[in-house]
Amino acid sequence: MPTDRSQELLEPGTAATDIKPPPPITETRTVAHVLTEDIGHIRQQARDLHEVTDELHQRSHYAEWNARTSHRGRSSTQDLLNELAELGFAWRDIARLVGVSVPAIQKWRRGEGTTGENRHKVASLLAACDLVAEHYGIQEVASWFEMPLLLGVPLTPVDLWAEDRPDLVFDYASGHTDSDQILMAWDPQWRDRYRSDFEVFRAGDGQLSIRPKER
């Protein structure tokens, strides 16, 4: 039985007999409407929760990293550098990651004194290696630090760390954020920035060479 309201809507009036009336409000449409609103609300809640957990995860990374750094900081800078060397890091990469020159690292290796700040930086790098290896099963951690985030994009965790973005390094290691999101957070223009019209190939003499890409 139509309700009074739907009967009213069906009433054509005097001047618009050719105008089609809106569809009647059915029970199904009402349920769908409510469902859409509810799901939208849940999605928003999930998004908010995602943001909150992202932030929490970042804070827990930092708290654990700090604790591990304090622990690692008990060792001498020389011993810390030796451990990084055992992991397979290049001295030039260690220098970049710590923010000093290669000759400075070479002096520390020989036992020359460092500032407390620099000792902390070396300890924090080793602590980060411990963290990503233990939590996220990263094998060959030095090699992982040198691995491009995406094939053909010359950006590695070394670059992220050297530019003071440990948050992105931990996120990348955790696998909760994909490479594309990391690159967007790093530089929204990354696709243009790292595009190359050239490619590397092996020339006739066996050496690596450069040529324009085929279009």
């Binding site: 060397a85 055992e86 992991l87 397979g88 890091f89 290049a90 001295w91 030039r92 020159s101 290669v102 000759p103 060959e140 030095a142 090699s143 040198e146 691995m147 491009p148 010359p154 530019e163 223009q189 243009d192 920035r193 790292y194 595009r195 190359s196 019209d197 050239f198 490619e199 590397v200 050496q207 690596l208 060479s209 450069i210």
Partner: protein, 238 residues
């Protein structure tokens, strides 16, 4: 976005120190001679009389040596001399130069900042390069920028530095490893040449599957393994 000549640092923010691996007293005489090394007081033969110049080595890393140890009999260099700092926004210009700001960081005068002049090239012999007169070694970033500008000067083609990185980084890695090996072996009484030959012999050993360790350096993911092996080998030699 079209590629243009690049500069060291983040967008709009220069980082001159990232151009250099070592400057002044930081330079060690036992590091293998490499592209971008700056030498002072080198005898060069121009169109007229022989003269003494400060120069930068332009030869590509793969074209420096014939047998891995000995430098080629003729090497191309360009004159280096005082030049004002070229701001990063102007690195797309000055195409006949490689700016070398802060080449002498402890000097307060104008000599602190220099540039290499591509339009003043010279050929020299390896004996003209005195290891005690090497005053700077470029970093990998510096070498890539030098190659980009040198190739552009000669061909008008701009190749991104990331592409140069792919091609020149195995040779740069090899120079780093040889330096590390030689540094340690000098303490055992070897001279630089003996230790360099020893390092190369080790690098050319089969790493398994018919691939030399030297070949593994072409893959960035294998380099840390070669470094680990090198450090273990040095420990055994102690």
């Amino acid at each position: 976005m079209a590629h243009d000549l690049e500069y060291p640092g983040a967008p709009g923010v220069p980082d001159w120190s990232s151009l250099y691996r070592a400057r002044g007293d930081e330079v060690v005489r036992y590091r293998p001679v490499f592209t971008g090394d700056v030498f002072e007081n080198v005898q060069v033969q121009g169109l007229g009389q022989a003269r003494t110049k400060n120069v930068i080595l332009l030869q590509h890393p793969c074209a420096l040596r014939s047998n891995g140890v000995d430098l080629h009999p003729r090497l191309m260099v360009a004159e280096v001399r005082q030049h004002r700092v070229i701001p990063v926004e102007d690195w797309t210009g000055h195409i006949s130069k490689m700016p070398l700001p802060d080449l002498k960081p402890i000097v307060a005068s104008g000599k602190r900042n220099q540039a290499a002049f591509f339009d003043e090239p010279y050929l020299i012999g390896p004996d003209d390069l005195d290891p005690d007169k090497r005053v700077a070694c470029l970093s990998q970033t510096g070498v890539n920028l030098l190659l980009q500008r040198w190739v552009h000067h000669n061909s008008r083609a701009v190749v991104p530095t990331a592409t140069y990185q792919d091609v020149s980084s195995p040779a740069f890695e090899e120079a780093d490893l040889i330096e590390e090996w030689v540094e340690e072996r000098l303490e055992a009484g070897l001279d630089v040449r003996e230790a360099t030959i020893e390092a190369l012999k080790w690098l050319r050993e089969d790493a398994g599957g018919g691939v030399m360790r030297q070949g593994l350096l072409e893959d960035p993911q294998s380099r840390s393994i070669v470094r680990q092996q090198l450090r273990a080998a040095l420990r055994q030699l102690r």
